[in-house]
């Protein structure tokens, strides 16, 4: 850890100043003549990496190597060699992996955007919960999942991990590594009880921010990512539930591409024709008129846009045009919509909408 100048020399000593490291020969880095983009290393970084190269050379695996690699990692969390060596050392000296995981709780939040933090965590979890910890080549083979019936110990550990990830997502709700790790964890333990809890988790996040695309993506993963569906759920009931949920979210915030992409995704996945959604979509394609009578009949299956929604909604127009495109009597209507999008409603994508028109005419 870098010493703070002016703190009266209270900071940690350099490894080169420490008697307990006197037996290690530090190895300076070879830079060569005129290297590309050389870094002016801080003395603390140079010191620690000199000793790191030293212990790698002698192949030392010991408790103090854990301290050394932690020091290097805290100054450069992307130092993958230090991570790699640390992992091998942990296994070699039979160190407590639970202790390691606690340290990782801190480092994960501090270095949220660094891939290595999450990769290391994956290795530790795998080592803790597989019948045999991955040894020489931990990630080069598909991780071996724990035994089919999750033991109470594994189940508890997985729950703790999920709670930890939820906390991390509170600081950054769209962090790609964090989400990937959560998806890996669910697949790794593959316990129906863990998957079930994910729906309410996603819904909580979407209540906070309905535009959180990572949460929408996770929902898709949870609904369709698992090989077997829970026994009492048929494909139809899943589709029905997902359609109802998505329509409600669109009604709340119609101009939300994440929700529309999700809607399209579930239709494509279940091979459901877009035209089934015509009744729902149409009200979103209309311009709001001020003297519109208040809707008396409440259609629960097809929630209407909220009174403050900006209409017409581009995504709804696009959706309706996609329905029309597949109907021989409505192709002209599709072209009309695309023209409106190109010239008025979505001019950024003018060329795209014109491309759609051209494509339709060519395939006609």
């Amino acid at each position: 850890m870098p010493r703070i100048i002016g703190d009266g020399g209270e900071g940690p000593l350099l490894f080169s100043e420490r008697p307990d490291w006197a037996d290690v020969t530090p190895i300076p880095q070879h830079e060569g003549y005129n290297p590309i983009a050389p870094i002016f290393y801080a003395p603390e970084y140079k010191d620690a990496t000199d000793y790191f190269r030293g212990i790698v050379k002698t192949n030392e695996k010991s408790q103090r190597v854990l301290e050394l690699t932690e020091t290097v990692i805290r100054m450069n969390p992307a130092h993958y060699s230090a991570w790699q060596y640390r992992y091998h050392t942990l296994l070699a000296i039979n160190a407590s992996l639970d202790t390691e995981l606690k340290l990782m709780d801190i480092l994960a939040i501090q270095f949220l955007k660094t891939y290595q933090v999450w990769h290391h965590r994956r290795l530790i979890l795998t080592a803790l919960h597989s019948s045999s910890p991955p040894l020489s080549d931990p990630s080069a083979s598909p991780s071996e999942p724990p035994p089919l019936d999750t033991t109470p110990k594994d189940f508890k550990a997985a729950q703790i991990e999920l709670a930890f990830i939820s906390r991390v997502l509170m600081t950054d709700a769209k962090n790609y590594h964090t989400w990937s790790y959560r998806q890996w964890l669910l697949a790794f333990f593959d316990d129906a009880r863990l998957w079930e809890g994910e729906m309410s988790f996603v819904e909580r996040l979407l209540e906070e921010d309905v535009r959180n695309n990572s949460a929408w993506h996770h929902r898709f993963f949870v609904v369709f990512g698992r090989e077997q569906l829970p026994g009492d759920e048929s494909r139809e009931s899943v589709l029905k539930r997902e359609l109802a949920y998505t329509k409600d979210q669109i009604a709340l915030a119609p101009n939300n591409p994440s929700a529309w992409n999700y809607l399209r995704g579930i239709l494509e996945r279940t091979k459901t024709p877009f035209s089934n959604l015509r009744t729902f979509v149409e009200p979103y394609t209309k311009t709001r008129s001020s003297e519109e009578p208040k809707e008396d009949v409440l259609d629960l299956e097809n929630p209407a846009p909220s009174s403050t929604a900006e209409l017409p909604c581009v995504a709804a127009l696009e959706f309706l045009a996609d329905i029309y495109e597949d109907e021989s009597e409505n192709k002209e209507n599709a072209i009309e919509i695309w023209k409106t999008l190109a010239n008025e409603r979505d001019t950024m994508r003018k060329k795209y909408w014109e491309y759609r028109i051209k494509e339709l005419l060519e395939n006609a």
Binding site: P28, G32, F40, N76, S81, Y85, W184, Y352, Y355
Partner: protein
């Protein structure tokens, strides 16, 4: 978008200056670059290449010493040959011979091997020192059962970025014998997400950068029938959804975002823009809005940043210029004139030609 402000000049010399400064030295706060320094070198020299300023802004003796340093990063061992990210794990040895075989913790790196070849081509190296057979073997050492590749043989990241590098290297060398293409293609296809883009790995959220990696790989793959409208590895439904998702990412600010509902970021102008070019529908991009966004990302003291409020770096500088190469504006000021770019290798056409002439295995090899 008819109300775009007039386009300022592209500050070519200032951008070159930004990259030249990074080439000569980085402050201690950049220690995290240690494990990817070759990539920074590529973005800096690539910027000079796109600006046509290599000869003007660097001296031949500098280029010679950089080439030598790059070759020092080529390392051999049990897994084959490749390039290390930098000398950060290389011991100072008294006799200064770099012949030692790498250790388990100092292996070559797949992504760095791709950037090293590109950078050496930018520096117009003759590639007589390239260990082609060793590199082909190294690619195979990085491939996993599921078709994906790890960054180095002992592990590390495994996602679409490594697949792309393995494909790019195989195509540059003109030798696909090191990898199992079918498995890798199957892995790529598994990354296709419900939104219409490719995630970083099979369960991942659709992302601009990895969508580029997937598409470029599929179009580089040897048996792909590449025509303007068809690629045998992509179904017509997938193609349809890809184009839709990609154009949807052109954000109101004019630049592209990397994921749905995120803000525009200069680098995604390349990743998404190049993806559309690869699919043969680059015309669907609003070029004027794109250029206007990138013009606003120019930092006043040189370099281009991810958005108008951020600080520049070589990565965003290079990728912004690469995007502008793909989407030239006919009526823009002469400062915006840039070379054509090979969208699959991410190299200027002259550099891509150099690779074809000097890197590809010649029949008599």
């Amino acid at each position: 978008m008819s109300s775009l402000p007039p386009l300022p000049k592209l500050a070519r010399v200032a951008h070159a200056g930004h990259c030249n400064r990074c080439l000569s030295a980085l402050p201690s706060s950049h220690a995290h670059i240690d494990a990817s320094r070759l990539a920074i070198g590529f973005y800096c020299l690539g910027t000079l290449d796109l600006l046509g300023l290599i000869d003007e802004k660097t001296k031949e003796e500098e280029r010679q010493s950089w080439r030598e340093w790059l070759w020092q990063q080529q390392t051999r061992g049990v897994y084959g040959t490749g390039f290390k990210p930098s000398s950060y794990m290389t011991a100072e040895s008294p006799n200064d011979t770099m012949q030692d075989e790498y250790s388990k913790f100092d292996t070559p790196h797949l992504i760095m091997t791709y950037t090293a070849i590109l950078t050496l081509a930018i520096l117009r190296d003759d590639f007589t020192q390239l260990d082609r057979k060793g590199i082909i073997r190294f690619l195979g050492s990085c491939q996993r059962e599921d078709g994906s590749f790890t960054s180095f043989p002992e592990g590390g990241e495994a996602d679409l970025r490594q697949v792309y590098c393995a494909f790019a290297i195989s195509s540059m060398l003109g030798d696909w014998s090191g990898i199992k293409v079918d498995r890798a293609v199957a892995y790529i296809q598994r990354c296709f997400s419900h939104e219409g883009g490719y995630g970083q790995q099979p369960t991942g959220e659709a992302l601009g950068g990895t969508t580029y990696c997937a598409l470029a790989s599929l179009y580089l793959a040897p048996s792909a029938t590449v025509t303007e409208n068809a690629n045998s590895y992509i179904t017509s439904s997938e193609r349809h959804r890809l184009i839709r998702w990609l154009v949807q990412n052109q954000a109101p600010a004019g630049g592209f975002s990397g994921r749905t509902n995120k803000l525009a970021d200069a680098c995604y102008c390349f990743w998404c823009g190049a993806s559309l070019q690869i699919l043969g529908v680059g015309d669907t991009v609003d070029k004027a809005s794109l250029a206007s966004f990138l013009a606003r990302c120019q930092f006043k003291f040189g370099g281009i940043s991810k958005d108008p409020d951020d600080r520049p770096d070589p990565y965003h500088t290079y990728l912004s210029l690469a995007a502008l190469c793909l989407f030239p504006l006919e009526d823009a000021d002469v400062s915006w004139r840039l070379p054509r770019l090979d969208p699959l290798w991410n190299a200027s056409e002259p550099t891509a030609n150099w690779i074809r002439e000097h890197v590809s295995v010649s029949p008599c090899d």
